[in-house]
Structure formats: C-alpha cells, structure tokens
Symmetry: C2
Subunit: 124 residues, 2 copies
C-alpha cells in the first residue's frame, strides 16, 4: 500500500473526507451521523471512513450497534513536519538568493559565471 504520509495526503485530497475530519474535531460521530449531510449512500461514507482509517486519521470502536468514529489528530504532525521542513528549506534558499543578489548589486564587478548552483544565477 503506499507509505503513511502518502495515504494521509491522499485521504485529505477529498473534500468530503476533509469535511468529515473537520466535523470530527468537534466530537466523535457514528457512521450514520457522519453520513447525514452528504448526498451519497451510507456505503460510500463507509468507504471514505476506511480510507481515513487506513491513513491513521481516525479509529473506530464498538458501542452497542454503533461504531463511533474518533479522530486521531496526532497524524496531522506527520504532514506538518514534512511541510514545515521543506518550507523552511525553501525560505532559507530564498534568503541565500537574496543575499547573492544583494552582493551582486553591491559590487557588480562579479563575474556572471559566479559558481551559483543550478539556475540560481539566472539574474537575467
């Protein structure tokens, strides 16, 4: 099956599932309960829940005939970590780039072939 991070992103790529997650932050819900607002069959909702469960975003227990669905919010951290890591990296890079540009402006005697990495030096 794909790694968990992929499953989490994929699970949240569907608006209906995102809405379910949003509602589950307020309170646990039964399947019927969850299904009510959407114009799809109960089975479809059950499938959505399976996707969320496989991603580790929700868990289900039993309580009488009902299967209360509970949000496992810790999984959010998985995404947050990934996103923040690369966001930070991108920001640092932009900072570096700004510095380079500033330096170039500063003393424009710099050779244009100045060992900048890939595209970076493309100050056309």
């Amino acid at each position: 099956m794909a790694d968990q991070l992929s499953r989490v992103f994929a699970a949240l790529a569907d608006p209906t599932r995102r809405d379910m997650v949003a509602r589950l932050t307020e309170a646990d819900h039964t399947v019927n309960d969850l299904a009510a607002p959407y114009d799809v069959s109960l089975q479809a909702v059950s499938k959505h829940l399976k996707v969320l469960e496989d991603a580790g975003l929700v868990s289900r227990t039993r309580e009488a005939q009902r299967r209360p669905v509970h949000l496992e919010a810790e999984v959010f951290d998985l995404m947050t970590k990934w996103i923040e890591r690369y966001r930070r990296q991108a920001e640092e890079r932009f900072a570096r780039l700004d510095a380079v540009l500033a330096r170039m402006q500063d003393d424009d005697s710099t050779a244009p072939t100045a060992t900048t990495q890939q595209q970076e030096g493309t100050a056309s």
Copy 2:
C-alpha cells in the same frame, strides 16, 4: 477540476512528486534535471510537473529550450492553515473532554448512565 486545496493534497500524495518538491526547495531545475533520479520516462515526469503546476506548487518559465521549474512555496500555507485550524480545534476539544472527565471523577454522584448523547460533549 477540484478546488486548490484538494489539488495540493493530491499532488503531494505521490512520493515522486514529494521528492521533486523537496529537491526544488534547494534550487530550480529543468525537467531533464528533475527526471534524472527517477526510473521513469521523461514524459511521466512532465506529467507529474503538470500536476504540481495545476496545484500551484510550481511555475515554469522559459529559458532557451529549457523550462526551468520553480517552487511556489506560498501554497504550503494553504495546507498549513487548514491543518492547524483543525488540529487546534481538536486539541481544544480534548482539553474540554479532559475537564469533563476530571469533574466526573471529582463528584462521582453522577449517574453512570449519564446519557452519552452524541458521543460526548453536547458542549457545542
């Protein structure tokens, strides 16, 4: 097409695309350049890039025959906002729940059959 948030999540649900994004935080890259590490055709990579572009995660300009790919890191905020909003909401709810449980423990005169209506709170 779907809304942008869905497209962004869907785009990042693929490990190859996540890796491309990761590499693009370091520097811009051409398509060939990007494709090098992966064992798929150039056309497949081109498709992945289209997905990332449709999600607003990257932009492409022209430079001679090359099409340098550039990361648009701001889009990360879209996800971060969504995630953080609901994470916070979930945390607040858990805090509330803890409070309720603490209170119940405090004066255990509470009827044990205390109508667990929805699942918990009723404190909406």
